[in-house]
Amino acid sequence: MFAYVPGNSIFHKLNPISKLIFLILLTTIVLVVNSILFLAIIFLIVFSLAMLSGIKLKLLFRKLRYIFMILIVSVILNIFFNAIPSEDEVILFYLFGQKFLPIRRLAVYFALKAFFMVLILFTSSIIYTYTVDMRDFVYSLMKLKIPYRYCYALMVGIRYIPLIEQEAKTISLAQRARGFGYERVNTIRKAYNLVFERLIATLITILRKAYVTSISMENRCFGIYKDRTNLVKISFKLKDIIFIIFWFFVFSLVILYLLQLLPIPQFPSLYSIYLDTF
């Protein structure tokens, strides 16, 4: 779901840090906004940004399909069960008969809000990972003066992901080769064995690998000085600065608006629309 694809879009050319700042600002906005209408508008913006960064519509839907499935289930469950019952709560209708399974207005509101929030967060994360080379990301962390040891820990971690995957796969095959895992896992004991045997065997192989890696790094004088030269340069260009300033501007506008400090009439939150119309 999250994989870097090289490309030439505007989003690709931006600095990972400026994109990270955008991501953080967006997440904050999404978390503080109440209005579903507003969330829907943000979703449209994020969606068009995704198109702008060169993600094909089909690919985006394929990446999001499991999230969609989970979200639809969660929306249904939310509508049925999640609402704080109170006296002045409006019940839209009953699903069965006159008294059974009430659909509460607040529940619909919460369900839709969660739906949009999760969708926006996932889409924006997909844009981020789609356009950011992990290598650039690590180097830009160093640029941010984060101690390089932690950055390299992250880098080695990223390098190790395919290795760990490979080892875990081999080990699960080794279990199967000796007859384990053909049956359905139907007792806690079996589940325990399945997970722990695999986990421990994988862990031991990975620890051995990590030992070699650390020796190899130390031998190349890693960690001798407090800082190091970095050949890879992650530079801030004018468009990065414009991008960041633009999003800070948008962010502060939204915050000011939410605090009702702007001389614009308040956007009716969908909740308030509910309260008024139904």
Binding site: D133, M134, R135, Y152, M155, V156, R159, L163, E167, T170, I171, L173, A174, Q175, R176, A177, R178, G179, F180, Y182, E197, R198, I200, A201, I204, T205, R208, K209, V212, T213, I215, S216, M217, E218, N219, R220, C221, F222, G223, I224, Y225, D227, R228, T229, N230, L231, V232
Partner: protein, 616 residues
Amino acid sequence: MCQLLFKYGVLIKISNDTPALSFKNFSFIYGVDKNHKPAVSDINFDLKNGEILILAGPSGSGKSTLSYAMNGIIPWRLQGYMKGDLEVFGKSIWNYNFMELSRIVGLVKQNPLDQLITFRVRDEIAFGLENLKYPEKIIEEKVEEIANFMGISHLLDREIDQLSGGQKQLTILCSFLVMNPKILILDEPIAFLDQHSESLLLDRLQRLIKSPDYNLSLIIIEHRLSRVINFANKILVLDDNGTIKLKGSISEVLRDKFEVLKSCNVRVPWITDVYNNFRKINPEAAGKLEIPTNFQHLLELPNKLPKEELNQLYQVLIDTEIKPKNIEKFETYDQKISFDDVYIESLQKKDIIENKVKSGEFDLIEGNNTILETKNLCFEYPNSGIKAINNLSFKINQGDFIGLVGPNGSGKTTLLYLLANLYEPTSGIIFYKNQNIRDINQHKYPRKIGFIFQNPENMIFKPTIREEILYGPVNFGISNEVKEKYISKLIELIGNEREDKNPYNLSWGQKRRLNLSSIFVYNPHIILLDEPFIGQDQKTIDSLVETLYIENKRGKTIIISSHDYHLLLKYTRKIIELNKDGSLNNYDSNGNYFLRHTNLGPVVLLNLIKEKLGEG
């Protein structure tokens, strides 16, 4: 420029007289317990500047410990007791700090994947210099220079994931060379490489050694002496206790101490082995020849001998190399413990074995019962679109001993997984005794197959040896049928160990034997092995091959995937060769296969002698 290099310590002036390394009564004990068995003890030897040393010995003999001592991991990073002293360029290691020492001594380990840190070749090579805070300009210059020298400048901007194994190992080699070490240790650098990558790396190493610009002392840790013996001057062999068993110059050892070398659990160059056997028969003729160590010597060998002696050499060559080497040893299998015998014995049906031995029923070598058959087998990894296995059709008879060869990435491992029903073929069918394996009961088919993985630790799951051996039977639901006597025999085979010992505490060779015990406990009919020889010493290989040989004599079918042609030439009876695209290149008897593949040393010599004899 030179001044600049001196300023940044790239060039260090060293007089030629002081030895690069000098071990003086060096011993090391890991951990905090002084009474523990030392990993290495009483090591005394000198290495002159510019010399190339082969460091050999069985696994666990302390080769790695010595390499850690040389580059400062011991004493700065590992806990333990050190006795004696180690001098690097005339200065005790205690007078260096860790940084200085690790700059002077570089260490390349065996698996390239474990050592790569960054994502691009250029970053990887620059990594060390960046840590040393060199100015960017100098780093760039030096990276370009070393990449040009080692012939990988076209790879500099590539992603590391796109490189072949040999190129990865070269990148790591460069990343050490760029720091201008005085001593470089290569810890089995070719163990994980296929033939192509191996010759690439060795070729570049030779270029490095011949160049006058890099005045390096090289220490190569390797079991397969033939690969590296041509460019080394000295050899040091350790034994199981971590003491020196043999040391000296290569030519001296090959001439006078060859038998000792052979007994040291290292894999001696086959050509020297042939020569040595020839010398035993005809010392006079052999005395006239120089000791052959490499391919060039091999080509000259037939020209120097008259016809009669050539005939003798031919016979020696056939006996030592072409025929399975240890066949006489294995012929005495009646006295050897066979898993199969023990299994039947444990069922208290001893007369069955005796009858079987008498009637020769065990010798199913040329049996014609097809045990496995594939038809148009194809396999594609999900979402990759590339066929790993491409339209394979072949038959395997019961009692076959088959070698599976092919370049890295040709699908050898995938094919073994398919045969073991661990993967589901994309199309095509595999038959086990004329029955589609997908139709066989899911519990029954795995019992017929014993799968040995490349890394012994990948198939250890339980906290005690006993539980580990019973892992298969418990899963198959047959643990009640396994007799106590059989289990104790299986534990005996691992060595003199308690049954409640943790398998992870066993030695590497013992872990391998535990793997064997834990599959033989359910008496499989087919044994599949995935690269079992990688990084193993001669002793482990011998005991593994011996076990397989005995089981094969008892009618078990064995398939080994390996890129070690030399071992396959000696031990297998048939060869399946895969192409790079996963299709079948060749399926033939061992003899025919190797006679057609004329680039393999023994076969070249055989053909040369034949030609020469034909002329006469």
